[in-house]
Symmetry: C2
Subunit: 334 residues, 2 copies
């Protein structure tokens, strides 16, 4: 055999491996190394095997393999409070010199005095005011830069790590595993759509157009002959609870076959996913590891998991016990 | 050489061709056979060559190759009126037996009497009422079925062809050509998002999540234990004119590098596309062929092209002269 043939054979092997390997079931399980062998991992792998088996009774064509993931508490942590709220708090501190009135006006006074109790007491109204003030009044481009700068530098109070290091390694593997099996992966989060988009592609491999979230209104304007989108202090859409199926329909336009969440805010998204025809997969991440991450469910103010846990048990949805099912939670763990 | 080697060589050839060919420039021009050789085709091919040339000064990475297309008048015809309005008219006729009051109430009376003049006189208010009445009051699933049934059966008054046959063959080729060169193709239309999604994937190769359009509000409800999204008679978003950049930002989350339109309704989308950094491509389809399709621009009520034509000339955007630039408009032409 001469050397040209040799080379062609080598090339064909490389190309064929690249094409064939990702969809070979035996290989598949090794794509989830941070998952302990157990019921959760087993049901995931079985489900993916089922819907990707051509000619099988549960086969789903590639374009219809849509999987939706909540973000806060499902793909990354959400304690002590949603990271976006910590972003808003940091913004208030940065902007404070230009707003002397904040020294006496709530909820800004509480933020500047690190008085979380009073901030929480300001309730939804206070939080909305905090978010609106810090998330509007600039163009979309300016906001993208503000978020990018913050996410690249700010650190989590407990772990002293960047927030993007607090993503769950098993879920990163799951996202990649699903994509290797022809799934389109979407984020469907109560968080701000433009707070997530600047970093979801590099962190999760999810491009901006596959991110669904809450939003404020924007307005097209010409400024000095240059078009901008101005961010207005007005809610456009809240992508939480009953809003999630609405957001899914609006952005994705087809019903997911698999849904992943961790709190009651994800219940309607999981119900909507479950109610479609054919084989469905619903999973809830249950935070049970206060040592490596946090342990909370029915009584938690952030990420409360109560009704959705009952529904999961009732309908046989997969519940991940973080402590038991995840060999590793964060990539930085030893 | 034995037969196993033979087979492997054949396979490797097939695989390599599939991988290599779509990005080979020489091959590219043959993907646009319905375009006459001329300036429009030349600028398209040159632009695509430029942004896909790795290491070149205008190279754009694959994830950022976002192209946006208007639908009515850009991908399919829009005369005598937007096809979605013809759908609404057909729905009024189907629903009329259950609405005896329509015999006397406008704009329904005009529709039932085929009195287009009075219908047009009812203005935007009459048209909105017509669309709301025919597009709401059912679930999203029910509406999808209604649209799918109509699009599969209804015929265009002039051509007596299904509406999906009135798509422009050169634009189908352009969509496929861009995708073969690593572009993501999106529709950004003033038309109803849920009116388009049932058929855009099979007709244009554009999946539902890459369709942006106008919408009415929907509401998540449990009906007999089953979740549905009810379509409400309330406008959610108008994806036209200054709304198009807003819709692009909301759904796509990054700025397109190429934009394709045909009317003043697309002007802001093209301005938004043009204002980004790096090499940009803006194209306007000018309807100049009354024999094969229609000829209209500055004076037309549907698809008026006036300001955008001036802007195109001013900024050197590509203007397609349908009569001159398109060898074939519809696939059914001889």
């Amino acid at each position: 055999m001469n050397s040209v043939f040799h080379r062609i054979l080598q090339w064909s092997a490389v190309v064929l491996l690249a094409v064939v390997l990702p969809v070979t079931p035996g290989w598949a399980q090794d794509l989830l190394p941070s998952w302990n062998d157990g019921l959760a991992k087993k049901t995931i792998v079985e489900y993916v095997g089922k819907v990707t088996k051509e000619g099988g009774p549960d086969f789903v064509s590639q374009g219809e393999r849509v999987a939706v993931f909540d973000n806060d508490g499902t793909l990354w942590s959400e304690k002590p409070v949603y990271f976006q709220l910590l972003f808003a708090i940091d913004r208030v501190k940065v902007l404070a010199p230009k707003h002397p009135e904040w020294k006496t006006n709530q909820p800004f006074k509480a933020v500047l005095e690190n008085d979380m109790e009073t901030l929480v007491e300001s309730g939804m109204r206070g939080l909305v005011e905090l978010v609106m003030t810090t998330h509007s009044g600039m163009t979309t481009e300016e906001f993208e830069k503000i978020v990018s700068d913050w996410i690249a530098t700010a650190k989590h109070p407990r772990f002293q790590r960047h927030y993007t290091e607090l993503v769950f390694q098993p879920m990163l593997e799951l996202l990649a595993y699903l994509r290797a099996n022809g799934f389109k992966t979407f984020i469907v989060s109560g968080g701000g759509i433009e707070f997530m988009r600047p970093w979801t592609e590099s962190v999760y491999g999810i491009p901006p157009e596959q991110v669904v979230g809450s939003s404020i209104k924007t307005k097209f304007e010409m400024r000095n002959g240059r078009p901008v989108l101005a961010r207005l202090p007005e809610v456009n859409f809240i992508d939480d609870k009953a809003g999630k199926p609405v957001g899914i329909n609006q952005h994705i336009g087809s019903r997911p076959i698999a849904g992943f969440g961790n709190s009651d805010g994800d219940l309607q998204m999981l119900q909507w996913t479950a109610a479609g025809k054919g084989a469905r997969f619903m999973l809830i991440v249950h935070h049970t590891d206060e040592e490596r991450e946090w342990a909370y469910d029915r009584e938690s103010h952030v990420g409360r998991l109560d009704k959705a846990l009952d529904e999961a048990k009732k309908h046989g949805w997969t519940v991940v016990d973080m402590k038991r099912d995840w060999r590793r939670i964060f990539a930085f763990e030893k």
